[in-house]
């Protein structure tokens, strides 16, 4: 009952906002040229999907972000594990990692376009540079925070390095890694869309850039909405996987994380 009531409030707030937007736009209180209106945006999205013209773009963006997400996470988790377990290597590489992470990623987009062309590859590369650090820092932190007593206990019980990795380090880091995954998805989308926006021939970022080029605010907003729903769906999927894999945690802690 409580949950239902909460949902009603949430949906109500959205409807109220949309209704106000529609009304304000129709009555000229805000300029429809700059702000469009929900009914137009909805129609545009409907047309995109019914004619199928959005699918190639959606496909390209999905591909880019999934690849960036996958490889960025794999690289980040692998390097995070390695450096957390090899403190001397971590000490050597520390300034380099900090320096690389200090680069604002957007400035990398032109250089990646030069290196990897206008296609999918340059966007994936940009996404990876964003996703990698999130996964890396979270994995590193997660492994570092393994309770020393639990670790010593496992070693005394006869665990080898492989056992420790599988039964101690990775599960301990799992909740950190999962919280990083949810941030990573957003970053992967940013990588893909910013890359497309700055130079490409397909993708949602390209679609938005095209619409913007002809002052088509409806198109810009429609692209934003599609992207938003897209990220929310992915985030929910990761949440499902997380609940299945990290079900050992006490509920209170799970609610916080």
């Amino acid at each position: 009952m409580r949950g239902l009531r909460l949902r009603l409030w949430q949906v109500g707030l959205l409807l109220l906002f949309l209704a106000w937007w529609e009304w304000a736009s129709r009555t000229g209180r805000i300029d429809p040229f700059f702000f469009s209106k929900p009914s137009d945006i909805g129609q545009r999205i409907w047309r995109w999907f019914s004619t199928g013209e959005v699918y190639p773009h959606l496909y390209v963006t999905t591909l880019e972000m999934l690849l960036a997400f996958l490889f960025g996470t794999l690289l980040g988790v692998a390097l995070g594990l390695w450096l957390a377990l090899a403190p001397s290597a971590a000490a050597v590489l520390d300034p380099y990692i900090k320096a690389l992470n200090a680069i604002p990623r957007v400035v990398l987009a032109p250089i990646f376009t030069l290196w990897f062309g206008l296609g999918v590859l340059s966007k994936v590369a940009l996404g990876i540079t964003l996703v990698f650090f999130v996964a890396f820092f979270n994995t590193y932190q997660g492994v570092k925070e393994v309770s020393p007593v639990v670790l010593q206990n496992a070693r005394l019980l006869g665990a080898g390095q492989g056992h420790l990795l599988r039964h101690v380090y990775l599960p301990a880091a799992a909740s950190w890694i999962f919280s990083s995954l949810r941030t990573s998805i957003g970053f992967a989308v940013i990588g893909a869309v910013v890359g497309e926006y700055l130079g490409s021939a397909a993708g949602l970022g390209y679609l938005i850039a095209q619409a913007e080029g002809v002052f088509d605010t409806t198109g810009v907003f429609a692209g934003m909405v599609v992207l938003m729903v897209f990220v929310l769906v992915l985030d929910a999927l990761v949440g499902q996987v997380e609940r299945r894999l990290v079900h050992w945690r006490p509920k209170a802690e799970g609610a916080q994380g």
Binding site: V149, V150, N153, L156, L157, H163, V168, P171, W248
Partner: protein
């Protein structure tokens, strides 16, 4: 020949000397308790016996041979919870067998009978956070015992439990110990617990530079009930005798702190 021998063991952490010149022999199958005021380096000696800590001077002999690295004969029950929070009670107990190459199915089967031995037969699929403190200790005990160590090291394992649970656990420990008489080195600051459980009580001086200042054989008959034995005149006599020595050290520790 003694099963485990400390020979002039000193441990220093930088300039701080925790224990100095400790010599101690444990006969096979003997139950020895170390008592002493807080901070007297009892746990340090356990860590040395487990091979988690190398002595700065002196050596530890296991069946006459100097100990290098982790002690292969030792099972260690820590003061804090050391079981894996992301594994069920059953899997936690099965883990030491899996580390030794037993397939999961067989390891779980044997773990189940151990859970029953420690009175947790009804909770195989509970996670540690769903169990009480005493139950988690039982899981820890079963986890250590399933690997059948010949030496059992225990670091104030029951200090966090309430008095009733504690006496229950002490009796349970004695019952399990009686089955195959492992050599036990039990650390506690509770003199009554030490007398009730042990064949011999070793008193250590207040730290730093803690050393052995007294050894008392406990000739109380076995099997014992820890709650009842506390009321016998022989127990009270031993308690008075050892407390005489211990009190001075406790005072000194207090004055130092």
């Amino acid at each position: 020949m003694s099963f485990l021998e400390f020979r002039q063991v000193s441990v220093a952490f930088g300039p701080y000397v925790a224990v100095e010149g400790v010599s101690l022999r444990l006969a096979p199958g003997e139950f020895v308790s170390l008592v002493g005021p807080t901070g007297c380096g009892k746990s340090t000696l356990l860590n040395v016996a487990a091979g988690l800590l190398a002595p700065s001077h002196g050596e530890v002999l296991l069946e006459g041979k100097p100990l290098r690295g982790l002690n292969p004969a030792a099972g260690y029950l820590f003061q804090q919870d050391a079981i894996l929070p992301w594994k069920t009670a059953l899997d936690n107990v099965a883990l030491p067998l899996v580390f030794r190459g037993t397939p999961w199915r067989e390891a779980r089967e044997r773990a189940r009978s151990w859970l029953e031995k420690v009175g947790l037969g009804r909770f195989p699929h509970h996670y540690p956070h769903q169990l009480s403190g005493g139950m988690r200790k039982r899981v820890g005990l079963a986890q250590v015992l399933i690997a059948n160590p010949r030496l059992l090291l225990m670091d104030e394992p029951f200090s966090a439990l309430d008095v009733q649970t504690r006496q229950l656990m002490e009796n349970e420990l004695l019952r399990l110990w009686q089955e195959d008489r492992k050599t036990v080195l039990f650390v506690t600051h509770d003199l009554e617990e030490a007398i009730a459980l042990s064949d011999r009580v070793v008193v250590m001086s207040a730290g730093p530079r803690s050393r052995v200042i007294g050894e008392f054989p406990i000739p109380l008959p076995r099997p014992r009930d820890v709650a009842e034995i506390r009321l016998t005149p022989e127990f009270l006599r031993l308690h008075r005798e050892i407390w005489e020595l211990l009190r001075g050290e406790v005072m000194r520790a207090h004055a130092g702190a």
